[in-house]
Symmetry: C2
Subunit: 584 residues, 2 copies
């Protein structure tokens, strides 16, 4: 072993001990007569002290050569510091250096290895091995490790078995694009990388494994939006002989365990559960942030029929109360108006009403609505003197979406979304199907094995769009953290589903044959859930970006700029695989 | 929840309780008046009892319909059994069934779901979800889960951090064949699947992560030998600021932890360490099974010069003592002779000498060797009256190999290799380089970053084949379970290595550029090890085959016969990827 201690463990109790430390040079300060070096490793920083008058000549000579990020080994005695540093755990001591050795020199790094670095995103990714030396990235990876350990500890204690499912599987045309792997032994044939282990976990239930989980890499060949990765990690779970409530309880327990073990936050209440419909009506969003209220109210009944043609002709009119914002300036409100008028939100304008502290109302539509009208509206939506009422009208879901975005924007500005507060909730009863106008057919919103609510099964024949599913999402702070469903395990219902999704029996057999085959041999009732692990780690780490919680991420073009991948392969490899690259 | 208890938990203490169980029908026995059903789930088997005279009519009707592997739900009362079964933990009780429900019927399975099934290998793989219902496979997967948990528990406690390295990486021409993944976003370019996270774990050391591990899928596109899988799992580890002994101690600790936790075997001694050279000389093999002795002895000095031309002209003459085997029949010895004469072993013949219980010697070469000669030889190789001496002569390494195979064969026949006895050892000081006659150059035996022994560095310039490496294997019962090395972290030595491996600086830069680049910024001394996790599980499970320790294995043609993969993909997918399949 090159060292007796790490750079993070020596304390005042160790004073007088002879120690050997190794690490990277964070900083060297020559104060004339005294040289100090901050020595860093994964565990911390320890200060080294070299007194020029007493140190050996060769020590001084070596110290002279040392620069930032050199890897060194030092031997010395732990002494109490003259001026202590209470910002670091080793701040009471320093090492009086007796011997020093350069284990490896370093060129000057392309960016500084400090918490707030001067390195840009691409540069940091190119030199990821240096970026990981920085505390924010290092701590993100340590957090991720701890989270994975705690997930496993919890699920193991609950009787779950981690089973590794294969990475080289088969391409299925449904859903997002697969990455494929040409087979050399079977020319013209391909494996595919899994978008999720969905079918395999269902097969494991048929196999009687009862409770399965896996922390597993998944792959999706999509055009990358910001903060999406072509390979990502899921906590993938499935249980047998359960109903929806069993799954929600089990995984609510897991999330509470993580809050407790990782962030020391005790959540002693049941996570609220709201339906998809309620989420849309109250928040305009199926993943609402409920750290704050500012709920949306449908005020159509109270504002229609007053000759204001915009409202009278609107499918939907929604209002929101911003507490204590009656004092907002014209400029502030203009800015909000511009916000909702952006093309992707598409509102025509923003109606507002200031409910002044003195109890009077002043709105942009005073021509149509009296103080009495506003009083009634205020009562309905619980506005009080001093509040600002914001109103949008138009197509229902477009308007709800604009209100949702407005709500989040205001909350950000008002500081209502603190990173260290967590508001988990379950959104349940998602619609089973989505109608696609273009292909004129229904698609499974979750996936084709999702079970409808028992009482909604008859709607399959009459009004499929109204069917609610035994599907659920876990949402924390407005972010979808996990989602799953109870699966169909009844053959007849499954056939009916495929019919409604526009599959011929042949197509269904072709795509899902081996799963449907398995279901012939005694499939238990089962259901599951999957969590986005990268996202979960980022949330626990207080970050909006998943990238720093992945050791070696790819950029938005799906490229690893450090190893320069993807890259051409040799002609010999192409020949062996029996494939030709098409010339453009 | 569909059940109150599992099929494995009810005991005599539960008698009188009303319970609901779910599971699969293992067996139904109609004894006239009484029907018994063995109900099975992951946790065990519970017997159900239906008395025809007292049961409700609908219960009897349902029971009539039930066949093997039906999924059922039963409600009833726990009662004490009349005739108990002490072979299963629930054998004291049975359930007096009050209600029974078929949750899902089952077709007749293609093979019986019992420990010794009638299903052949391919059939079992095609219906893997049924095969996993069988105890041997189910228990193998449960063992694997527990092993993974214990590996993580141990390494976490030792300060190791599990870091996920990428799956979509870059193809490197050195070594085995890569699986590649065409990039749609970068037409003509490819990702590759990792054969191991070797470079990434070294980068993590440069990044200061200090102690890394990962239980990780690796991929190798090789022509599959029996019991090889194109995707397999490694326990991959790396440490900084360590020397070889630190790594051996740490991972010896891990293996002892596993023996203790999984098999309840306490290993209270240090694993023996022998050098590669010693292993070859004593066992003819770099992964010796040391559960038994029967070591090989070089007897050249004692048998040459006696006019026996076969020995006189041989490069090497090796002998082995088989205890108490002087009584072997002619037929038995003929069989051994045939064995060593097989083409892949290539011995010309087998010389033997029976050292009879009465102290006399009888050999096939009595013409050349006297009793006195045999007495001296016996002393040297510790043969005693009653023993059989077997001798092979020829090229040194070919002869050692044949002796090694003979040694293992005899041990198998003599019952010297019991599955529940474990003899771990470290083999150290592997040769650094191997000379390839065909390409007339040296190859790295381990990989090009393996460090030579310090005292052997000068040999790089004079006799590279003699250089010993800081490379080590963990061998248990003749199986290589893990291997690793201390890495080169010094730039000059690395350059010298590349030169000796016949790389031009450009080639080295091209293939290992990003790792060598990383090494410019302060690489710590580091080293690591990787264990074959599938193999380790099989060994702990007492099996020679890894296949049952993998949930969904592929067959010897690299094919998943359950999902029928690999398979053709659509023309649209090919077009998007910009590749064409070559016609043969």
């Amino acid at each position: 072993m090159y060292r007796t201690h790490t750079c993070g463990e020596l304390r005042i109790e160790n004073v007088g001990q002879k120690v050997t430390l190794c690490g990277w040079v964070q900083l060297k300060r020559d104060k004339g007569g005294m040289i100090w070096i901050d020595l860093r490793d994964r565990y911390g920083i320890t200060q080294l002290a070299i007194e020029e008058s007493t140190a050996e000549k060769k020590v001084i000579e070596t110290v002279d050569k040392i620069g930032r990020e050199f890897v060194i080994q030092v031997r010395g005695v732990v002494i109490e510091r003259y001026s202590k540093n209470d910002k670091i755990p080793t701040g009471d001591i320093e090492i009086k250096v007796e011997d020093i050795k350069i284990l490896n020199p370093s060129e000057i790094p392309p960016f500084t290895i400090i918490d707030n670095t001067d390195g840009g995103d691409e540069l940091r990714m190119k030199y990821r091995y240096l970026d990981i030396r920085r505390n924010p990235v290092k701590n993100a990876l340590l957090l991720r490790h701890k989270m994975a350990q705690e997930v496993r500890k919890y699920l193991d204690a609950q009787g779950f078995i981690e089973v590794e499912t294969p990475v080289l599987i088969k391409s299925t045309p449904e859903g997002a694009r697969d990455f494929v792997v040409p087979s050399r032994m079977h020319p013209g044939e391909f494996y595919a990388l899994p978008q999720s282990p969905q079918t395999f976990k269902q097969l494991l239930m048929v196999a009687g494994m009862d409770k399965y989980f896996q922390i597993v890499k998944c792959f999706r060949d999509e055009d990358l939006r910001a903060d999406r990765q072509p390979e990502f990690t899921q906590i993938d779970c499935e249980m047998s002989f359960v109903e929806q409530d069993d799954i929600l309880q089990t995984f609510e327990g897991m999330v509470k365990h993580l809050f407790n073990q990782i962030l020391n936050i005790e959540i002693d209440y049941n996570f609220p559960r709201i339906t998809y419909t309620e989420a849309m009506e109250k928040y305009g969003n199926d993943k609402p942030d409920i750290r704050f209220g500012m709920e949306i109210n449908n005020i159509s009944n109270f504002v229609k029929g007053k000759n204001f043609v915009v409202f009278d002709s609107a499918e939907y009119i929604g209002a929101m109360v911003v507490k204590n914002a009656a004092k907002y300036s014209r400029k502030q409100i203009d800015e909000l108006t511009e916000f909702v008028k952006q093309p992707h939100l598409g509102a025509k304008g923003l109606v507002y009403c200031k409910y002044s502290a003195d109890g009077t109302f002043k709105s942009t539509v005073d021509k149509f609505y009296t103080s009495e009208d506003w009083k009634i509206i205020s009562q309905q939506i619980k506005a009080q003197p001093g509040d600002l009422i914001l109103i949008l009208a138009g197509d229902k879901y477009k308007t709800l979406n604009a209100l949702s975005e407005l709500r989040l924007k205001l909350a950000n500005e008002l500081g209502l979304r603190p990173k260290d507060t967590f508001a988990p909730l379950w959104v349940v009863e998602f619609p089973l199907l989505e109608y696609d106008e273009e292909s004129r057919r229904y698609f499974a919103k979750h996936h084709p094995f999702t079970s409808p609510l028992d009482e909604d099964i008859p709607l399959l024949e009459t009004d499929p769009s109204k069917i609610r599913a035994k599907a659920y999402d876990l949402v924390i702070n407005g972010v979808e953290i996990g989602g799953g469903s109870i699966r169909i395990f009844n053959k007849e219902l499954q056939s009916l589903m495929f019919k409604n999704l526009g599959f011929t029996p042949e197509e269904a057999e072709n795509q899902f044959g081996f799963l449907m085959n398995a279901f012939k041999y005694g499939a238990p009732p089962h259901g599951g859930i999957a969590f986005g692990f990268d996202r979960l780690c980022a949330m626990f780490g207080g970050s909006d970006s998943i990238r720093d919680f992945i050791a070696f991420p790819k950029n938005n073009a799906g490229r690893d700029v450090m190893i320069e991948s993807p890259a051409p392969i040799s002609q010999q490899q192409l020949d062996e695989l029996g494939i030709i690259i098409k010339n453009n």
